[in-house]
């Protein structure tokens, strides 16, 4: 698509005095416009330059992630509270989870974070082929994670560990083990939902990379999608020990 702004040098020069008058603006930021250099097609008109635009995108994503921290934080608070009340039931219930699957999934997610970080690196250095490959690797690892998670859910269903009418557990912990499994399904379920959304985002990013929309100068979409992906990884970093490992010392 042809660039709307670059064909209009008057707009660029008209913006320069405004920017130059800002006391807080740093010198180099203005140079592109004052010199009348052609702007990048991806630069939105409300930003001085690509760097400012990139900073705004990153900041916006982080503000969103703050809300996500608090969203998951509420569930971690509920978990901590009930575990504080019923530590033995929680340990016994945790012991029934497929611990090795949780450990493998932790490794899978950490690896996907590495491929994501490398994808951002490839985007920054303009290596389009590598960018695409790392994005696809991230998607693949995300799918592996969801596959293993599905296997776990199936195991828990078969073993009657889904809270509700079919729930079975040793009588002493029957009620409070259901609390644990309710929290387990809620927290891992919402995490898995975030993974599904993340995979969707990465698919769009791969498509954009393929189309050449992502360039060395304009890689913010990759960067902030990466922020989201790493955040989902961090949630799992806390979920794994708190859900899977609290009953391991029992037997």
């Amino acid at each position: 698509m042809p660039d709307r702004r670059s064909s209009n040098p008057a707009a660029a020069s008209a913006a320069a005095p405004l920017g130059a008058g800002r006391p807080a603006a740093s010198g180099p930021r203005l140079s592109a416009q004052t010199a009348g250099v052609v702007e990048h097609p991806a630069l939105a008109h409300q930003f001085d330059d690509l760097e400012q635009q990139r900073e705004a995108s990153t900041l916006g994503m982080w503000v969103f992630l703050v809300t996500e921290v608090l969203f998951f934080g509420g569930m971690f608070a509920a978990y901590s509270l009930y575990r504080g009340w019923y530590p033995d039931a929680f340990a016994a219930a945790s012991h029934e989870l497929v611990v090795w699957a949780g450990a493998v999934n932790t490794t899978v997610l950490i690896t996907s974070s590495l491929t994501m970080a490398l994808a951002v690196h490839a985007a920054q250095t303009g290596e389009r082929r590598q960018l695409l490959l790392f994005l696809l690797a991230t998607i693949a690892l995300g799918l592996v994670f969801l596959g293993i998670k599905a296997f776990e859910y199936r195991t828990e269903y078969v073993e009657h560990h889904v809270p509700g009418l079919g729930f079975e557990f040793e009588p002493m912990y029957f009620r409070h083990a259901q609390l644990f499994f309710s929290l387990y399904f809620l927290m891992t379920g919402l995490h898995a939902l975030h993974m599904v959304i993340g995979i969707g985002i990465m698919a769009v990013m791969a498509w954009w990379s393929w189309r050449g929309i992502i360039t060395r100068e304009y890689y913010s979409p990759i960067e902030i999608s990466g922020l989201y992906w790493h955040f989902v990884d961090i949630v799992w970093i806390f979920l794994f020990p708190l859900l899977y490992l609290i009953g391991r010392h029992l037997h």
Binding site: R54, W62, V66, G74, G84, T107, S113, L114, I234, L245
Partner: protein, 97 residues
């Protein structure tokens, strides 16, 4: 923030540290350390989260404003947990153990 390209070497080192920490938390969990089990697990998790945030999420190289927002998320999470537990942990009719 001037554009900062983190060298791949850093990413590989962080990845290695994350794997080692996962192995560590896995090994430690088989011992019965009482309340220290949770403390160790959380300490390792916080360390893992910190290196992901600093290096994978580039906060180490980010603007002060981004730092402030990241710190804010931890701060508000602290308020959420502190106020919740200042209620539940001070109710005389429950015993803990």
């Amino acid at each position: 923030m001037a554009e900062h390209i983190v060298p791949r070497r850093t990413y590989y080192l962080v990845y290695l540290a994350l794997l080692l920490c996962t192995y560590l938390t896995w090994q430690v969990s088989v011992f019965d350390l009482g309340p220290m089990n949770t403390v160790t697990a959380l300490a390792i998790a916080v360390f893992k989260a910190a290196i992901v945030v600093l290096f994978f999420m580039h906060v180490k190289y980010a603007t002060r404003l981004t730092w402030l927002v990241v710190f804010g998320s931890v701060f508000w999470l602290g308020i959420l947990l502190a106020l919740t537990f200042s209620d539940y942990l001070t109710r005389g009719w429950r015993t803990y153990g």
